[in-house]
């Protein structure tokens, strides 16, 4: 089961991070968001956290390798994909209008 988690956890973390940033963006446009709080810095921070989590995931896969060469190389490829996905899919927080 650990080997299955090694393959699936980093990319699942991307799904969680992506959903969380999208939810945060939705919340920032909702009636519950404080008027005096700028949304973009918060979203940028959330994006950086998401990237950091993926980077940590990749490092964990690299520094605690699987005894199986196949699992190890596949897990690195998936964790790398997750890191790229975190950078690419949440990049709109840089420039896109938040609530327009």
């Amino acid at each position: 089961m650990i080997e299955i988690l090694r393959l699936s956890l980093p990319i699942s973390l991307w799904a969680i991070g992506f959903s969380a940033v999208y939810a945060l963006q939705g919340l920032s446009c909702s009636r519950h968001w404080p008027d005096d709080l700028e949304a973009r810095p918060v979203l940028l921070a959330a994006w950086f956290v998401a990237i950091a989590v993926q980077a940590l995931g990749l490092m964990a896969v690299l520094y605690a390798p699987s005894p199986s060469r196949f699992i190890q190389s596949t897990a690195v490829a998936i964790a790398g994909t997750a890191l790229i996905a975190a950078i690419w899919t949440m990049m709109p927080v840089l420039a896109a209008s938040v609530c327009q």
Partner: protein, 836 residues
């Protein structure tokens, strides 16, 4: 390479006869209702799914007949609405998913080197639920009671106000029952792939199709629950007027779109990935080489599966979502092209390094390439927001999805049918209608849907029943309709070709394609027991490593060839390394799955006729039959280690801490978690963005109710865990189980306070959501109470021991889940009131 074995036909024949007696289905008609063998269930699944494909195809022809000419009077608009709704529904829910499930059931045990799927009775149950649910939907259509709101059933169009009658209810209840069937099959497949494999089949040696189907099954467990929740909300709104989607009472129709597309977009990949798995299996054999980049393909399949969950909002680009939200999903939509491309380059590279032979399966794969790449590219076009706005809800989208679904799914599945026909029927194709059909279907498909693309670009809206001659779409629609009829003739020829060859073609030899994977080592057609002995594998292509493996298996030179115990035994291996770890005894023939499916389907379908008492009785029947089903498993005495051959003495699965049932529960709870998470998402969505919030007041938590919930959850977690510990020490378990029971009752009581404090769920979406949260807790505590009582009875009757601890661990797992989600649900209910 090993030396050829000396012939010992007597041994093989004796073994075959003994195995066939043990694993055989009941004779005659009774056998169809009591069988749970994967060959029988898979074949029935395949036949029924193909029948639904034919029905869906006929509906498609009716649509094209209507659209062939402007101002057509072929159909009334009301009928047309039902026809296009049913076409999408039948193809997506009744054909596409069940068809690949059927193929998985038929092929997976052979590919993995095992004898059957992990839960044969669950597979049979899933089949019957699917047949009853699907038939109900079709019968409703024939009676003119079909849904007419499109296959994604957007409210408010599908609400009681705008869709009176039972059409929408048929869809919601019928499709939900089919989703239950799909979840049952997915759990069965996951546990099979992870634990039921040949000895030595580590994860790195698994056939590539097993990887794909593992990924897809996990996707089913995570994608279907939001849809089930959405259907539940809409049905409750229609039946009881709980206003989840009614804006005036705090609901929001966009919630439905989120829940539907959280399912709907991964659904596309749930359909595509099994087809990709088939291509990845067939193409290397046709190219007479091995797959290029096995590890990359696995990584691409896993990545694609997860990334596909980040695409759902691209179906909602025209709903007024802020630019940033759209950009997230636009970016994710472009990203999925990367893993898809890795797969395509792997296939091209495999062809490049091999020597392809243009047999019929390969022709269909070529048809796939030509079609799917175009579908993928139009998908990237649709991911670009401004373009998406222009073509939203036009025939361009219709053409795109048909390129992806027919090109990306149907063509590969036709290839798979022809490729595996010798294995499934034992016959070699003789009548060559298949080639003719190919040259009818593929060109006609492209003519049809290129014309539909163009009509969409020229502005033709989907789901409009006719158009005027001066709109400039006449020629395109006529061409599309004529070509679609040619395509239909081609598909009819395929079905005819397969049927004729399956029944009257000459008997064939084993492994005619020269494949290297294990399914071709079984006798053809595959007998009920699959393999006479469980093979030992040392590589990814066992038949290339040992060309005489089939004979060795037949002669019993693997694991589990002993028939003296006279029961259906299979081998369980460790998940990663594939080392033999347990012997599992699979259940025999039983009518129980059929009966349980009858009462399950009755509980789903009776509300259509306002027969709520019948539905309630049927639900009680579900519980009763499930208990009878479970009671028949296990034993009252420890058997100890079992001789599995090859010098291995292994414990029975029923005398292990992690029997298959524990794994099955784990994955069922994964689906349950996603369902619960979707409910929380819906609550948060309404709370944050729905109009007409906040409600007049929030629920105020009472300290004693909070304390009751905390104490109940604690007792519910501690009790069953303690029970596991005392059973391991051969001490009395009832005090611990009693603690768990009291905890469950306390948690249920805390949930009841929520309902009592807000007695009118029809008043506002907030109240309705509170009732659902409390209902989640109530349902799970009810189930846990039943499980605790069941476990107490099992312990009292001697079904538990320090070795036979699996059932207690399963109950503990459910109790933990109930306690954890119960606290979260009640916390979510109380939180807004607590923070003011």
């Amino acid at each position: 390479m090993t030396n050829p074995p000396s012939p010992k036909r007597g041994t093989a024949l004796r073994l075959h006869r003994a195995m066939a007696r043990i694993w055989g289905s009941d004779p005659r008609l009774r056998g169809w209702f009591t069988t749970n063998n994967n060959n029988d269930i898979g074949t029935l699944f395949l036949i029924v799914a193909t029948s639904f494909f034919v029905i869906g195809g006929i509906l498609a022809m009716l649509i094209r007949a209507q659209l062939a000419t402007p101002n057509s009077a072929f159909m009334e608009p009301q009928v047309y609405n039902q026809i296009f709704t049913m076409h999408g529904t039948v193809m997506m829910f009744l054909f596409a998913i069940p068809f690949f499930e059927a193929m998985s059931m038929l092929l997976l045990p052979g590919m993995l080197g095992t004898r059957d799927l992990a839960f044969p009775r669950l597979g049979a149950y899933g089949l019957w639920v699917y047949i009853f649910g699907g038939s109900a939907v079709i019968i409703a259509m024939l009676m003119g009671l079909a849904p007419n709101g499109g296959w994604f059933m957007y409210p408010p169009l599908s609400s009681a106000a705008f869709s009176p009658g039972i059409g929408a209810d048929v869809w919601l209840l019928g499709i939900t029952s089919i989703e239950v069937s799909a979840i049952a099959t997915a759990i069965e497949v996951i546990v099979t792939v992870l634990r039921y494999r040949a000895a030595g089949m580590s994860l790195s040696r698994m056939p590539i199709f097993a990887w794909y189907i593992l990924v897809v099954s996990v996707m089913i467990l995570t994608a279907f629950p939001p849809m089930i929740l959405g259907s539940l909300l809409l049905e409750v709104e229609r039946a009881l007027d709980w206003p989840f989607f009614q804006v005036e009472n705090g609901g929001d129709p966009l919630l439905w779109q989120h829940l539907f597309w959280l399912f709907g977009h991964p659904e596309v990949y749930i359909i595509f990935l099994p087809a990709a798995g088939m291509i990845t299996t067939i193409l290397p054999v046709m190219a007479r080489t091995n797959l290029l980049g096995y590890g990359w393909v696995v990584a691409a399949a896993v990545s694609l599966a997860v990334l596909s969950f980040g695409l759902w909002v691209h179906h909602m680009f025209t709903t007024g979502i802020p630019h940033m939200g759209m950009a997230f999903f636009s970016a994710a939509s472009t990203l999925v092209a990367v893993p898809t491309s890795i797969m395509i380059f792997s296939w091209i590279g495999t062809l490049w390094k091999g020597r392809a032979r243009m047999e019929l399966p390969m022709l269909w794969i070529m048809g796939f390439f030509a079609t799917f790449v175009i579908g993928g590219l139009t998908g990237v076009m649709l991911a670009v927001v401004p373009f998406n706005w222009q073509v939203h809800d036009t025939h361009f989208v219709v053409a795109h999805l048909h390129y992806v679904l027919i090109g990306g799914y149907v063509f590969p599945m036709v290839a798979a049918i022809y490729y595996f026909m010798p294995l499934l029927t034992g016959r070699t194709r003789f009548f060559k209608l298949g080639e003719v059909a190919f040259w009818l279907v593929v060109p006609a498909f492209h003519i049809t849907f290129l014309a539909v693309h163009m009509a969409g670009l020229l502005g033709q809206r989907r789901r409009t029943w006719t158009y005027n001659a001066d709109q400039g779409w006449t020629a395109l629609n006529l061409v599309a309709s004529i070509a679609s009829f040619v395509m239909a003739i081609g598909f009819a020829l395929i079905i005819l070709d397969v049927a004729v060859n399956a029944f009257v073609a000459v008997r064939g030899r084993r492994n005619p394609w020269g494949a290297g994977t294990l399914e071709w080592a079984a006798a053809i057609p595959s007998p009920a027991y699959g393999f006479a002995s469980i093979p030992i594998v040392k590589g990814r292509y066992p038949l290339y490593d040992d060309p005489h493996l089939a004979l060795r298996i037949a002669r019993g030179e693997g694991y589990m060839a002993d028939t003296s115990r006279n029961r259906r035994e299979a081998l369980i291996v460790t998940t990663a390394r594939g080392e033999p770890s347990q012997v599992v005894v699979l259940p025999g023939n039983s009518v129980m799955p059929f009966l349980l499916a009858v009462v399950t389907s009755t509980s789903f379908l009776a509300p259509l006729f306002d027969a709520y008492i019948v539905a309630g009785l049927a639900l009680m029947g579900v519980v009763a039959l499930a208990l009878v089903w479970a009671w028949g498993l296990g034993s009252r005495a420890d058997e100890g280690l079992v001789d599995a051959a090859q010098g291995a003495m292994l414990p029975l699965a029923s005398e292990s801490a992690d029997p298959p049932g524990w794994w099955g529960s784990l994955f069922l709870l994964l689906a349950d978690s996603v369902h619960f998470g979707s409910l929380l998402f819906g609550y948060a969505f309404l709370w944050s963005v729905a109009p007409n919030w906040p409600p007049q007041s929030y629920l105020q938590p009472q300290l004693w109710a909070v304390a009751l919930a905390l104490a109940g959850a604690l007792a519910l977690t501690a009790g069953p865990r303690l029970a596991v510990r005392v059973i391991r020490r051969s001490r009395a378990a009832w005090p611990a189980l009693g603690v768990g029971l009291i905890g469950a009752l306390a948690l249920a009581a805390a949930a009841a306070t929520v309902m009592l404090d807000r007695p009118n769920p029809a008043g506002h979406a907030y109240d309705a959501t509170l009732w659902l949260l409390a209902g989640h807790v109530g349902l799970h505590t009810f189930l846990t109470i039943i499980m605790l009582c069941y476990l107490a009875a099992r312990v009292a009757r001697g079904y538990a021991s320090p070795n036979r601890i699996g059932e207690a661990r399963i109950v503990a797992l459910w109790a933990d889940f109930t306690a954890a989600t119960g606290l979260v649900a009640l916390g979510a209910a109380w939180l807004p009131g607590a923070v003011g």
